[in-house]
Amino acid sequence: MTYARRTWIVLWKDLLSERRSKETLNALFFFALLLLFLFQFALGADRERLTAALPGLLWLGFILSGLVGLGRAFLAERENDCWEGLLLVPGDKSAIYLGKVAGNLILMLLVEAILLVLFAVFFDIDLGAHPIRLIVVIGLGTLGFAAVGTLFAAMTAHVRAREVLFPVLLLPVQVPVLLGAVKATEAVLLGEPLSAVGHWLGLLAAADTIYLTVGVLTFDAILEA
């Protein structure tokens, strides 16, 4: 009960701060818009090529905006040394980790929804055939990304070259999630049932479970001074 309350208060704090400042969300919205231009320039107007590359492009957009968003996840904790306060909180710190993961997950899902809409409008692509399937795939992929991303963002928050180090650490570790998510998204967009990509969904679920478990068990060691 206390654990859930502590997780919730961290999530509440992060969402409330973001709702007031809109710093991350505004920036990410424009970032997503710019990505759209980039993809268009890179691929040209050929619809065939675009459709073939769509799942990869979508996830590239998710990952890039996720990197930008997650990199800012612990900025507020550094501003007035709030980090110290979190560290001195008595008891298990994993509640803080889960609250942070939840906040980052929600933020990323919001940005992803925006990107999906932008794709649908500007590239004239029908994403609405199987919304539930798409949500399942994107949810599983994003959770894995947020779980490791939050852990690594906390880790690199103290390092001087964090803007470089964060993606360098995160991206290779996220290869399984990226591959699984892209392949499953591709299948769903082609109208295949989820059972056709059962092995990928299993892999994503396994990755999510492993990452979250490691995060919960090791976050104390990262928060420590």
Binding site: L151, L169, P172, V175, G180, I210
Partner: protein, 218 residues
């Protein structure tokens, strides 16, 4: 250098010599690829020992987070370095082997790809260590990364394998390989043993150096 280290070094040297003799003198010439195939005796043991090294990183990282023993941290650090070197050897020999047999230095083959991803992950591990000045903090963060990285390896392998084989997951067992000449196997085993000794020697040496570094700066 301690006497145990020196003994390990000599044993590794002997093992490598024996391995060379086995690879070039005893093992028969492979029928289709010819002498080129002999690079396998370097290529395969290197990656097997790299896996061993990263396994040691995992165990040492868990032990470090548990009891904060500085020795476990040094072992993880040293083992990761040696593991990265051996992974590098595996990739380099793979490229050299690939040129005459496949006609290209590099191909996005499943095994090659997943091994290179592993290589990059552990390079990141060493980079993280190098970028944190506070020794104790570097140890803690590296331990967390060492655990994530090791648990990620099977995920990387499965995902890359499935990604290359277009659709349904293949059977986990490799599709039936033809029975090998026993001397092939023997030569491989001798080389594997030699590489393990070499790993032990390098790691022991690095652990001692790391300890001495700490003593100097303590």
């Amino acid at each position: 250098m301690t006497s145990r280290e020196r003994a390990l070094g000599w044993l590794a040297g002997l093992g490598l010599t024996a391995g060379l003799v086995m690879a070039f003198g005893v093992a028969p010439r492979e029928a289709t690829q010819g002498n080129v195939q002999r690079i396998m005796y370097l290529h395969v043991p290197a990656i097997l020992v790299a896996y061993l090294a990263f396994g040691v990183v995992l165990v040492a990282s868990v032990i470090y987070l548990w009891g904060r023993a500085a020795g476990a941290d040094r072992l993880a650090h040293a083992s990761a370095e040696v593991g990265v070197v051996f992974t590098g050897i595996n990739i380099a020999t793979g490229a050299i082997w690939g040129k005459p047999t496949w006609g290209t230095w590099w191909t996005w083959d499943a095994r090659l790809t997943s091994v290179s991803i592993m290589f990059v992950i552990y390079l990141g591990y060493l980079l993280l260590r190098a970028m944190i000045e506070d020794r104790e903090r570097a140890a803690r963060f590296a331990a967390v990364l060492g655990i994530v990285a090791a648990l990620d390896i099977p995920l990387v392998h499965f995902s890359v394998y499935w990604w290359r084989t277009l659709h349904q997951p293949p059977t986990l067992l490799r599709p039936g390989s033809p029975p090998m000449d026993p001397t092939f196997v023997l030569a491989l085993m001798v080389n594997l043993a030699a590489f393990m000794l070499l790993y032990g020697y390098f790691t022991a040496k690095r652990v001692r150096l790391l300890r001495q570094e700490e003593e100097v700066f303590a």
